[in-house]
Symmetry: C2
Subunit: 379 residues, 2 copies
């Protein structure tokens, strides 16, 4: 086991608790907030009206910042910062994209710097308090200190981490995910599995307790996704799925494993930066291809263990095939073609990955030629 | 899945980091602290001298409060409170007993009330900041908000919980446990398993992800204990064992399971309140007996699952037998006789359990006659 430091002060309220949000904001001394959300779904579901009533009843002033896209963008985040005069907190109502953009606004507004500087390495000095009402369980952003943003001009999708942007309170109500379109459930499942897989496959060390913890989450995601595709109203499965999403990226999977990296996210971020494909859809294409390349080049025993523990296959390659078949079964894309990306674009993508890979600290491990090989496995 | 609220702001530094403690205290603004520890072991190991040097070099004044016993007592905690004038923080150097007594002192000193009032239900209003250097991994107190104390006069061993007594920072250095006497390793193993077992068997609901999480910890404890009895210097096993201890009682096992209770701890606390037996030794006697009684009376399917998942036994009773045999194999007591408690004392113990059971909210579930039946299974 490697040394580690763990600190995660997010308060999670899991269950039907969104009605408490106004009281919580008030108790924490906030009288004017920025309300951040995406597009129409929170209005259609009635959640928007519910929150507005709660805020008004509690006499909390708010400025709206809507229209966050599923790959949140720098220009939109900058617009959000412009609206924060007199605001002491942000209420993010949505999934990972809304939370990530809210983190960007929270840090840039309080640190008095440009949003993109933070993604380029500048440490934030302060952040507005962040509160979350989660409507899509996938990215784990509700219980971590990371945020991802796309710079539309430079086609860079970058991230930063700071303990200052941990949400104060995240309300996770699985009932809010009951109306989620089927494809978002599928993309979310792939995102969660990939978060676990990055640690599981790339870590320096693999303490057994951490291996089993990772396998537990992957198994639960597979099981609950299968259940929810049959019966979307299964609230228990929604709950377990939501818990998996939160646990998959709140640092618990990585305790004691030493260094690890996010190669699949690095490659996928280029896909979504260039083609604006949904993150989970991109990952479904990247992960099986990366796994094939990774096993061929490293013979890492974790791949064989994955095959055995998750799909009861003796052989590593059979395990990867079983995973790919499961992705196809649930309706996830597994080829670039299905994402609408032409074969001829591989060099363009590889160049983008190569361009950002130094920011991920993965330049040496993933040189241009390796990236191209991985991309070729995706067709 | 049931609703839950989760909040755990403890900062864990895992690895060889005790040298940072003085810097951390200083950065947090503390210039005078109470140094709480047990008996000779921290002096023998050299840890005491190391810490004194660190504190002196950082110009942090300290008052010593030593002699915490393995079942910490009210009188000793009250003496600690008397020493807190001008003190803003407590540094607990030891295992669960030292941390628990430190929590008692921290809360009573800052809330200006008697220590025992807190264990009788009074809410603390404040607490001194608490810092921990852990030397025995067992109780999980380094990452939770609970504390247990024994009132020697009334023979009551009670607990309280308050978010105010979460440690600010806990340094867990598995290397410090290398010199732990063998019997403490064994008692610690039983304590960790019982923490998990209480939730695993008594919870209202059993989400699969939580079941597997609990089984993961129990399996790791069994495996690492077996390894450490053969080779006490296995630092990887020490690390995994330490992680199990922390995870077993920091609320993670209980997310979404609804109500659960601590019947084994309730019964054992009477054993140690009356006979001052080590907590883990008492639990080794109580848990198999309770499991037999529990399965006979409830046929709860979790017992069968435990048998299958942990010991690969089809039958619930065979699973309990396998567990009892494992306890005997590692050298844990499994009878009252081995604890030096006479058969004739059963009524006296049952009366004590009956006396405190209302405080545990378990009076109805565990009436006097049931307690007697469980105790009779311990001979």
């Amino acid at each position: 086991m490697k040394s580690f430091s763990y600190y995660n002060p997010v308060r999670i309220l899991f269950g039907c608790k969104q009605k408490y949000i106004a009281n919580i904001l008030k108790a924490d001394g906030h009288s004017k907030i920025l309300l951040v959300y995406g597009k129409d779904s929170v209005k259609k579901s009635g959640l928007y009206d519910e929150i507005l009533k709660l805020l008004k009843d509690a006499d909390i002033k708010f400025i709206e910042h809507s229209g966050v896209s599923s790959n949140p963008t720098l220009l939109h985040a900058r617009e959000g910062v412009q609206k924060t005069k007199g605001v002491t907190a942000i209420l993010a109502v949505g999934g990972g994209s809304v939370i990530d953009e809210s983190k960007a606004i929270a840090a840039a507004a309080a640190s008095e710097c440009d949003v993109w500087e933070l993604y380029e390495g500048k440490e934030p000095t302060d952040a507005l308090d962040l509160y979350v009402i989660l409507t899509i369980s996938a990215t784990g952003s509700e219980m971590n200190s990371g945020t991802v943003l796309t710079n539309e001009e430079t086609k860079e999708k970058l991230s930063f981490n700071s303990p200052l942007v941990y949400p104060k309170v995240s309300i996770i109500n699985p009932a809010l995910t009951l109306t989620l379109p089927k494809e978002y459930l599928i993309y979310s499942a792939v995102d969660i599995i990939t978060h676990v897989a990055e640690v599981y496959f790339t870590a320096e060390e693999h303490p057994k307790i951490q291996n089993r913890f990772c396998e537990n989450i992957i198994k639960s995601v597979i099981k609950t996704t299968d259940e929810l595709l049959k019966n979307p109203d299964n609230i228990n499965a929604r709950g377990e799925f939501a818990l998996c999403a939160t646990w998959a990226l709140n640092n618990l999977t990585s305790l004691g494993v030493g260094e690890y990296s996010f190669p699949n996210h690095m490659i996928e971020h280029s896909l979504s930066a260039i083609y604006n494909v949904p993150h989970g859809a991109g990952l479904a294409v990247v992960l099986p291809a990366w796994l094939k390349w990774f096993y061929k080049n490293t013979k890492n025993p974790q791949v064989k263990r994955f095959a055995k523990k998750i799909f009861n296959e003796k052989d590593a390659k059979e395990g990867i095939n079983a995973f790919e078949k499961w992705l196809q079964k649930i309706g996830a894309p597994t080829t670039l073609k299905e994402l609408g990306i032409a074969n001829g674009d591989i060099e363009k993508i590889a160049e983008n990955v190569d361009f950002v890979s130094h920011r991920w600290g993965l330049k040496q491990k993933y040189p241009y030629e390796s990236i191209k090989k991985i991309l070729k496995l995706m067709k």
